[in-house]
């Protein structure tokens, strides 16, 4: 190509890849999050970190929720960061880890899904989407080893399987399907313990929102990096629900009302709802 040719570069007109990430890797590699070389040392303390994300399936869909805190060492970097994003109409991702990189990766992933859809005229399969996200995470391994790890939680409604699904990832791009519920981030141990006791597979959407808020409350209770409901500023978790009709963010007022109920309950019993000691009967089925 002649450099001063005013037409679109030849690569743009070349048929071939339907992947946006592959295209910019060839055309504008500096735009890719994983392609930068860092000086030696640990960069983990330089940037804000996002914390706890929880997800659970319910009949007909899946729910994803995240707290609103970002921390930088012992400081709170942000009280109202958003860590739960719709990635396309039927999927959403929540992020834990280095906030700046994570937001950039989600943007890349959103563009990737939309780009594929526009070029191919059809959407990727749900597993295909999860594998693409795994590839984006894997490309960041070098930075993860220097303290800038990003670990997402990916959920969506699989139209072919007709159910909500959850995928978790590790920094090497490992991709694991979770059944029922899962949590990632610094408060995830406590959130998962809470979910274990509160989750049941037949939850309705409203109850699922309550379980998510309870789990995030428990995470914030024991993990200083997870933000609890901020009553003074009225900052509450972000909850995203995906069903066969598509995804939507649960109305902030609904979440606020749920959080108020949860807080009121904790005034009486700070440790939250009591789970029954008896094992559920065989007819009810075990928890996933």
């Amino acid at each position: 190509m002649i450099p001063d040719d005013p037409r679109l570069p030849a690569a743009f007109l070349q048929p071939g890849t339907a992947s946006f990430a592959d295209f910019i890797a060839a055309q504008a590699p500096d735009l890719l999050p994983g392609r930068r070389t860092l000086p030696r040392g640990n960069a983990g303390d330089l940037a804000p970190h996002g914390t706890t994300i929880v997800a659970m399936t319910f009949p007909g869909g899946v729910l994803l929720a995240g707290d609103r805190r970002a921390t930088m060492g012992n400081l709170i970097a942000s009280r109202d960061i958003e860590k739960v994003f719709p990635t396309d109409e039927y999927s959403a991702a929540g992020i834990a880890g280095t906030a700046g990189l994570a937001v950039e990766m989600i943007r890349l992933f959103q563009t990737e899904l939309e780009h594929y859809e526009k070029i191919e005229g059809t959407t990727l399969s749900f597993d295909g989407k999860a594998n693409r996200l795994a590839g984006i995470i894997r490309a960041n391994l070098g930075m993860a080893m220097q303290g800038l790890a990003v670990v997402p939680l990916f959920v969506g409604y699989d139209l072919r399987a007709a159910r909500g699904r959850i995928f978790s990832f590790d920094v090497t791009g490992g991709r694991y399907e979770e059944t029922g519920f899962h949590a990632v981030g610094s408060g995830s141990l406590f959130a998962r313990g809470s979910l274990k006791k509160l989750y049941r597979p037949d939850l309705g959407v409203d109850d699922a929102v309550t379980v998510a808020v309870q789990a995030l409350y428990d995470a914030a209770d024991d993990d200083s990096a997870t933000g609890g409901p901020d009553v003074g500023r009225r900052i509450f978790p972000i909850v995203h629900v995906v069903t066969a009709e598509g995804g939507h963010r649960v109305d902030a007022e609904v979440v606020a009302a749920t959080a108020d109920r949860v807080i009121a309950g904790r005034m009486g019993r700070p440790d939250g709802p009591v789970a029954p000691l008896d094992l559920p009967g065989a007819s009810e089925g075990g928890l996933a």
Partner: protein, 246 residues
């Protein structure tokens, strides 16, 4: 040693233009019609898989006539350009004008370069704004010329006949049903007869600013088309259009 024949530049360009025009005139027409809530594209296309109208970005759509492989390349280039710009900057920084310019430069350079066959395509780039005053329809021809169209636009096959039909009947601020009915009857119009095109043989898509999602492009399925076309016709010009111009 043989002397090459002299061909005047005028003749050379005219030959290339005739070649491109002939290729374009073989295909069916595509019409774009502005209505109250956006822009509607319609064409007769029996294929459900090979599209002539497609989404480029949130508020931008692309329609083309001519050689499929050539306009498909242009479409993909447009999607790549728009997605790259939207990713590097912001979604709002992707504009129809920028895209139309890139296409115009590309088509113009190919047309006037001696070594390549000119593209046998004509394309629309349309962008919707907050209101119908801000909607834009650009029509680009094989030689890279850009025309800014208002209200309606036609390209391909019998564009003059279809355009004449639209010119007589187009009013601004139509409903979706009215715009669809006008577009479909215009496509079926020829000097000798007026055909009725079945919903299954139509490809119709709209940029609809009332959609909640940021992506405003939507294809109308054959079932939806049948419903819209079967809806009782709106009373004639006695009543004001749905959104009277302010």
């Amino acid at each position: 040693m043989s002397t090459p024949f002299y061909v005047s530049p005028e003749q050379l360009m005219k030959d290339r233009a005739d070649f491109a025009r002939k290729g374009i005139a073989r295909g069916r027409s595509v019409v774009a019609v502005q209505y109250a809530d956006g822009v509607l594209f319609a064409t007769e296309n029996p294929s459900q898989a090979l599209h002539k109208v497609s989404e480029i970005y949130d508020r931008i759509a692309f329609a083309a006539v001519g050689r499929y492989n050539e306009f498909e390349n242009l479409r993909i280039a447009g999607v790549r350009l728009a997605d790259m710009r939207g990713y590097a900057y912001d979604r709002r920084d992707v504009t129809g004008r920028g895209l139309a310019n890139a296409y115009a430069q590309t088509l113009g350079t190919i047309f006037s370069s001696g070594g390549e066959k000119p593209y046998e395509v004509e394309i629309f780039v349309a962008e919707i704004g907050e209101s119908s005053d801000e909607d834009q329809i650009y029509r680009l021809t094989y030689d890279g010329q850009v025309a800014d169209e208002h209200g309606y636009a036609v390209m391909g096959g019998a564009s003059d006949v279809v355009g004449g039909y639209l010119q007589e009947r187009f009013t601004s601020g139509m409903t979706l049903e009215a715009a669809l009915r006008l577009a479909v009857s215009a496509l079926g119009h020829s000097e000798s007869e007026d055909r009725t095109i079945a919903g299954s043989a139509l490809e119709v898509a709209v940029l609809d600013r009332t959609r909640v999602q940021p992506r405003k492009f939507i294809r109308l399925s054959p079932a939806r088309l049948e419903t819209l076309l079967a809806a009782p016709a709106a009373p004639d010009s006695d009543e004001p259009p749905v959104a009277p111009p302010a």
